[in-house]
Symmetry: C2
């Protein structure tokens, strides 16, 4: 039987916790600022070092994220924590720059239909806005990193198929427009591991190490399989939400983002360092269940517990 | 950025449905024989061509599988269906041979502790029994295929770690004792994709194409990621249970086997042929929910539905 050489997996991976933004933005519950600060503090204690803390959007659109500036200011005080915010446009980016966010994430939907429905802009209009954001950052002499999150990169509930070539084209344009890095997001849970390998391979060919992040939803149960496929492509930053919150409004009742604790378990089991303290993560998940009463939390390791082979040892790295 | 060549995935995969045995054996509900026959008929209509229909164990131990002979006789009448039964020992195997099962599956636990607790035999005692089963089959001139399912191959709730070398040693012994093929089972949901690649690579080196099946539980959310890792190693037969039934008694509330419909979705999405009709599978899952009222069914695609990109087209292959 022939040998089947597999690519080496990364030795170290960063899990960026996006629950405070991607999770909370579709949840009707308004989480008080004081609770968000406790959440951030506990995440930091658990070893989280990249955290999306909110979004600079008009408060009337997302009242649950209206305290982003205050939350960001708190997060910035925690040592070693990279605090990012989502900004949909130049106006949001100006706030992120003024508030000295470590990073700002601009969403760009690779699906034309989704982009129009969501932002009333074509993807290429968003590219132009990214150019303006880069210019504003440079003019301000700001150190805020500019990352683009390419949403619906694996398909779209409105448009259906999104062509790989269109994703690659937009990645190139976004980098040309001045983004520091770009990530691929499976916003609606359409990706499978073969798609992940294929699309990341194409995107890595044009963007190299400026490919920042993979962001998967577990809507159809493939979230962790997709993370594994991304790891095989050498991706070392993965988004996740504690408790798998952040479901898709088009799939009511379905799972949300890949759950942080399940991903942390998978990585720890494979001997990949994340710097996360598993017990502290689980304690925080317990608190989260209390804070978000009425919301469904997802994830498997919460119920099953660690394997006997991983009990007793300190699961961290 | 360097290229990362991935092994080609198989073009065709067989999903063996094991719900009637692995699913029902830990569920207190007694499913009437007439319902089992309806279940089998519907599975056959949905394209299932390998089906584990029950177990030849003493009825007092597993009353819910006491009708295995009748269920097997029915399954054998359906064209193209490979009907297998689990047999824990020579006595069970003699029944499987007498009833002309297409295949008999002998479980052998790679964990010494689990083997003793479960069967009151060491793994090597079971190897000896497999030799006797092979002799009985040959003496009977029977065509019943003899497959060994190596359980706890990735770890054990009693013993903890199970060494790869012990699994490889037992695989070799089992084949020497006359088994036609051997599969690896993650009975308690301890496997991760890196383990799957590593262990299958080692086992393939000694067993080649006599490695039959991969059997994963989704206890800790890694079931589909593990299936993907097995596909990358060239494994083309995967066990699964409709509705993800068949949980582990050591992890109450946790998921059970990999769910057939989620696995079928993943494979269809990746363009791997299974011969399964997705809509018919989902209809059967609906019926199953009625038959197993009070039991928790698992799986993601049931709630989320197919991606728009796969709707309308006939999802089968």
């Amino acid at each position: 039987m022939e040998t089947r050489p597999l690519p080496a997996l990364p030795q170290r991976v960063v899990i960026r916790e996006v629950g405070l933004r991607d999770g909370l933005q579709i949840i009707p519950t308004i989480v008080p600022t004081s609770v968000k600060l406790e959440w951030i503090r506990a995440a930091h204690v658990a070893g989280v070092r990249e955290l999306e803390v909110g979004s600079f959007v008009p408060a009337r659109l997302m009242p649950q994220l209206a305290d982003t500036a205050e939350v960001l200011a708190y997060a910035k005080r925690l040592p070693g924590l990279v605090a990012s915010v989502l900004v949909p446009n130049l106006k949001g980016a100006e706030r992120a720059i003024a508030e000295e966010a470590d990073a700002m994430l601009v969403p760009l939907s690779a699906s034309h239909a989704h982009s129009l429905a969501n932002l009333r802009k074509t993807p290429d209009d968003v590219v132009a806005e990214i150019g303006r954001i880069r210019a504003a950052r440079d003019a301000a002499g700001s150190a805020t990193r500019l990352e683009v999150g390419m949403s619906t990169a694996f398909g779209c509930t409105l448009q259906g198929r999104v062509e790989d070539d269109e994703v690659v084209r937009l990645v190139q344009k976004v980098l040309d427009a001045g983004a520091d890095s770009v990530g691929l997001a499976d916003t609606v849970g359409y990706a499978d591991p073969a798609m992940v390998s294929r699309l990341f391979e194409k995107v890595l060919r044009v963007a190299g190490d400026r490919v920042a992040t993979a962001h998967f939803h577990d809507t159809r149960g493939l979230g962790l399989a997709n993370c594994y496929a991304a790891l095989q492509m050498g991706i070392t930053r993965l988004d996740a939400c504690l408790g798998g919150i952040g479901g898709c409004p088009h799939a009511p009742g379905a799972s949300g983002n890949v759950s942080t604790e399940d991903l942390a378990y998978m990585l720890a089991s494979m001997g990949i360092a994340t710097g996360l303290d598993f017990d502290a993560l689980m304690a925080l998940r317990g608190k989260l269940a209390g804070w978000l009463q009425g919301e469904t939390l997802h994830g498997a390791i919460w119920r099953a517990g660690l394997p006997k082979t991983m009990q007793g040892e300190e699961v961290t790295a």
